[in-house]
Symmetry: C2
Subunit: 715 residues, 2 copies
């Protein structure tokens, strides 16, 4: 960590911080203000993160494709969740070498397997760049122009930062909407390999039935290793690469943690919406989430059905199904929580309450105007949601058309100046984008993609006024069923689906050539492209309006409410802390904060998602004699529960004890806590981790003694 | 209690009794052997039951149509479950006076409403009559002859006992199958009235969703009153009747009970099967219960659908649906428990274990022979189960045919000597039988009954070889659908469905007249009657074989196992005790033993079976200031949980504290404890009661102060 600079602006905002609740995803800039000793920490803030850049815990924490993870050995060993490496394990698997089903135990470096598509992101430094960013905004700019100006400014700053920091990656994050921006510098490591993967029935025990559920018994961990070139520099995969030596790795505490103990988590929580107005919650609850849940239900059902017979099809679709199911259940939990807690209504009451204590009439009116403006934006968004939903669904789910649209867009972008391009097509992102596209084309399962096309056209399309749709879509929709089938199947041209020819097409693309293309998928994409741009523009316009509103909204709230005021999670580094603690989901029911091995056998009796191999059964029988057996809970602990404040992106975060030693691995939340993203509550906000004792016990039980000693002996 | 005589024979059996487990439904004869003081009782066995006949707690405990209940005032006030009086409340309700929906609060005796069909049964005395009964068995008798001889002997003894005890009712109960018989004398009170009924949304809160479930929040209580003639003698309903003065009534403890406290229950548990062999469990698990569950599912669905529109149809069917749903969920719980606990396999292992410790070769062989004999009986029963299922289903569900069959049977029986008749048609039972038939005819809902006919014929009938079925059934089955519909609808003749004309037919019935009847239902019943008799005979034959086997089986087990050995529940008086205690249904989940009022509001958010009126919501809001509010559990207690050993028939049993004071009202078990009937376990056997503080709080809240003072001030 070279140049930690405190975010001055944030300090100004954050007055009167007190350690009382466990709510809070604290950004680095705020750590010094916390009295960690009073909270029970045995280490100081500077041992977690040191603005002077000297080595601290933070140097062991990494971002891994949107998940969190940590270094746990001097040889670049990485601990994260099984579900975070799921896609890479799927990619490495075939019916012949089925690491997804059977797991992977490697004994030496040579056996480790490339984790394709995974990138380690190490935070090197950050600084507040709000002033510079906001300089791009000129008085009287339209909302659309404002958004575009900020976007462009950010790109320029990222390009400049990468130029002056050779080999580093620069990213600007919006900390408070429309208001506070921070530029982070990262080191990227691109050669990551699979070292130890438990079989799916352990790593995903309980499947979708147990996802977002406590009590939990999932061994959701995987171990990887980061490699660099022989010169120690970041490099793509090569046989001669050597293990990376991190500045810091976490010490493992094999004695684990107990009920009531302080714990904390470091990682990269994705998104929370706690500062958003009631009108946003209303839009989410009534418009967006129900529509997405309906779509996902259909998609999952369709892919599940297609996966039933062939293992290779299963492997192709597994990661997508898992991702969809995960988000769907999360949304269902949120919808249930919004409804049960009447959260939208409560948020509205909070706003009324806030309004009632504003004495200044001018401020009062400003507050009301902002509230109304935001509400209008969400109303507008709601009105045209079907069209947005249609376009988003094409991008995310109709793979062949999505790939064709990317080609069309790239053809439009490649002749622009770098900083004028859409982010994925900037030189600095192009390689990743190319890789992603080729992987998606390779993974197309034609019968499923055709069914998705039919559903998007005929179900989602039916909710849009026909005149809003491009001609080619209207033709598709009005064709008779067998005719439409024929038209759709024409999109799956070999030239298009072949990795090599697709790559060539991408590399040599020119808009004029495209326009002459005879490929039906390209023709369709060319016709739809203007609509996608129109959608992007209206998104930007709304963002422009919301950004200015939210910036003032936060200002006013801050001015009135005082107290601590943390930015919503935005994928940047955060600390959160709490205690190992059960909860009561309903009257007379108490959830204890530890589960034990016997719980797996108990659930296995139910069958279904609770799969179990005899091999594991006999391990459990011997576990009574293990050093990890805990008398207090009468078993070897499997999962732990705590009231720290987490969200998606905290998957794979280390759970640390008061001395900053590794005692667990965060991977999920209780169902009641899905609503966490909108409102934290001491009563129901609980997150779930794998107990480190389970990880050590399981690795030991499967005989991976080399790995175990690397994890525990080198410390 | 006039002549308590200890059952000498049982004493011989029960050696080495120790108070260690909470398992056990202790018959009266055993109480003196328990060291109640060591168990924490503050009263002695003689205060619960005194063989010398002086007044004790037992005199306050009554049997009410198969449920348990207790006297709680000197004026004959009775406390039992809402679900025990459900049928009577349904019968008293109409869309105009909907006591089932709205409840009933009476202010003076004159307002109390007849609880039609309800009879109070007060135990007066009992004696062991095994020797007399078994004298009827002659050497070399066939199994069928044995059963019939015992049946006849019992009837003769009952008739004789009633002759020599004017006004009393005599009943012989089989305590150990084929082996121990006890004759009980009862007083019957036939004028019972509804005094206080909570609305259904309280008395049945949670409906079928919560039935057999903890945590529970059901106000499952109802208050009735027993009346006698002005001379103090038992009498049918008459306006001039006066409240009955019981020998003893229970003192209410408004301070309630706490976690860990000793509690006990007195009542009439129905049936347990803990001494039955593995072959019986196998038959239940594989043959009988799955078939019954399938039938009940269909019946409930059909009746629910028919109830959807009209409140009067709902009222007609409510009690039947409730009964079916209750049994179905119980069976489902049992099937789950049998499967999860692998109980049949375990029972077999216990038998193998027992066999392995028998050293005497002759005894060993006898044990094996008995085991094989019983297994053969259950195999035979399994083979012809479809026919039995068909006939049983006709009797229990096809109401019009069932009534017609009763007429045919009565026509056959009425010319026999009283003691040779089937029990329902003996002079002493005839009035009850007549009442029951008229009520069932009155409650026929023709469209539902026709659908049931179609289902029994075409679905259950299809599983039987056609040659086993009577000609008329075969004709019905082979008719085309519209023809069959016509044939079925002809059974619902007005003459038959009219209460008065049906009563007249019953009173004047003669077999020769019946044979000339033109009523299609009678014609059909005459044709089916021989099959029903055949089924009865095969049941008796099996019973004969099982009785002799079970008698020796118990002998041998007793001889080998020593330890306490209690008879299975058989509807006779029992004491069971335990503690107020939570449990863990699965890893990391703990159930606490009290629920509170707020839990109702919490569940009410879910809608569905959790109905709630605003009136109740506001009562709950005020409850914080109530004297029944308990700081320890932060609320007014609603339901309580304990590990005493109960089964069906214990519904309505008083829950008593260590001093024998009323602290609750037993009404259900936790889902895991449905398996209780086959095997008791400290881990999962938990029963559920209404906390007396809820009953008092609710009565007080609804302003029934007269009733409250009768319950609490007269003590």
């Amino acid at each position: 960590m070279k140049a930690h600079v405190l975010i001055v602006l944030l300090i100004v905002f954050l007055t009167g911080i007190s350690i009382k609740a466990d709510e809070g995803m604290w950004p680095l800039s705020e750590l010094d203000k916390l009295n960690l000793t009073d909270a029970g920490f045995e280490i100081g803030a500077r041992q977690i993160f040191n603005p002077d850049g000297s080595v601290s815990l933070i140097d062991a924490i990494i971002n891994l494709n949107g998940c969190s993870a940590s270094f746990i050995s001097t040889n670049g060993l990485i601990l994260t969740n099984h579900h975070c490496a799921f896609g890479a394990v799927q990619e490495a698997s075939s019916s012949a070498h089925d690491y997804l089903r059977n797991g992977l135990v490697t004994c030496k470096l040579d056996d480790e397997i490339p984790a394709k598509g995974m990138t380690v992101k190490i935070t090197e430094s950050y600084r507040d760049v709000s002033k510079e960013v906001l300089k791009a905004v000129k008085k009287g700019m339209s909302p659309l122009a404002r958004t575009k100006a900020i976007e462009k400014k950010i790109k320029e700053m990222e390009i400049a930062a990468e130029k002056s920091n050779k080999g580093k990656r620069a990213e600007v994050a919006e900390m408070f909407q429309g208001k506070v921006y921070v530029l982070f510098l990262f080191t990227y490591l691109k050669d990551v390999r699979l070292v130890y993967v438990p079989p799916r029935y352990i790593g995903e025990f309980g499947g979708e039935s147990d996802n977002w559920v406590w009590p939990r018994h999932t061994g959701d961990f995987t171990i990887l290793r980061a490699y660099v070139g022989p010169n120690g520099e970041s490099a793509g995969y090569a046989k001669e690469n050597i293990p990376y030596t991190p500045k810091k790795f976490l010490k493992i505490a094999p004695q684990g943690i107990s009920e009531g103990d302080l714990m904390f988590i470091l990682g990269f929580p994705g998104r929370t919406y706690r500062h958003q107005p009631a009108s946003f919650l209303h839009y989410e609850e009534e418009i967006r989430m129900p529509a997405v849940v309906r779509l996902y239900q259909w998609l999952i059902q369709t892919m599940d059905k297609a996966s039933e017979e062939e293992r290779d099809v299963q492997l192709k679709l597994a990661s997508r199904i898992k991702g969809l199911a995960n988000r769907m259940k999360n949304f269902q939990g949120k919808l249930k929580g919004l409804n049960n807690l009447k959260l939208t209504e409560k948020r509205k009451q909070e706003e009324d309450q806030l309004l009632s204590v504003i004495s200044d009439t001018k401020l009062k009116n400003e507050f009301l105007t902002i509230q109304k403006n935001m509400s209008q934006v969400y109303d507008e968004m709601g009105l045209v949601y079907p069209t947005h939903h249609f376009v988003t669904s094409v991008h995310s789910n109709w793979s062949v058309l999505s790939a064709a649209l990317s080609l069309v867009q790239y053809a439009h972008e490649r002749n622009k100046k770098d900083e004028d391009r859409e982010s994925p097509y900037m030189t600095r992102n192009l390689e990743k984008t190319r890789e992603r596209l080729i992987r998606s084309v390779k993974n197309i399962h034609i019968p499923v993609d055709e069914k998705i096309a039919e559903y998007i056209l005929m179900t989602l399309g039916a909710e849009i006024q026909p005149e809003r749709l491009p001609l080619s879509i209207r033709e598709l929709c009005s064709a008779d069923s067998s005719e439409r089938k024929k038209m759709i199947s024409a999109y799956y041209d070999k030239q298009f689906l072949n990795e090599e020819s697709f790559g060539k097409m991408f590399d040599e693309i020119q808009l004029n050539d495209l326009k002459k293309s005879e490929l039906p998928a390209i023709k369709l994409a060319l016709d739809i492209y203007p609509l996608t741009q129109q959608i992007k523009d209206s998104d930007d316009k709304w963002k422009g309006r919301l950004d200015t509103s939210m910036a003032r909204w936060i200002d006013i709230k801050q001015q009135i409410q005082k107290g601590h005021f943390l930015p919503d999670a935005n994928g940047t580094f955060r600390l959160t802390w709490g205690r190992i603690k059960g909860y009561s989901p309903r009257d007379a029911v108490v959830m204890k904060p530890f589960t034990i091995l016997e719980g797996l056998l108990e659930k296995a009796q139910l069958g279904g998602d609770y799969k179990m191999e005899d091999e594991f059964r006999s391990l459990v029988k011997q576990a009574k004699n293990s050093k990890f057996f805990q008398d207090k809970i009468a078993g070897v602990p499997v999962n732990i529960l705590y009231d720290a404040d987490t969200t998606g992106g905290n998957s794979g975060s280390p759970v640390l004890n008061s001395r900053g030693e590794l005692v667990g691995l965060n991977f999920d939340r209780a169902f009641e806590a899905t609503i966490n993203d909108y409102a934290w509550d001491e009563g129901y906000s609980r997150s779930i981790g794998v107990d480190i004792r389970f990880i050590l016990w399981y690795i030991e039980s499967t005989g991976a003694s080399e790995l175990l000693s690397e994890m525990t002996c080198s410390q």
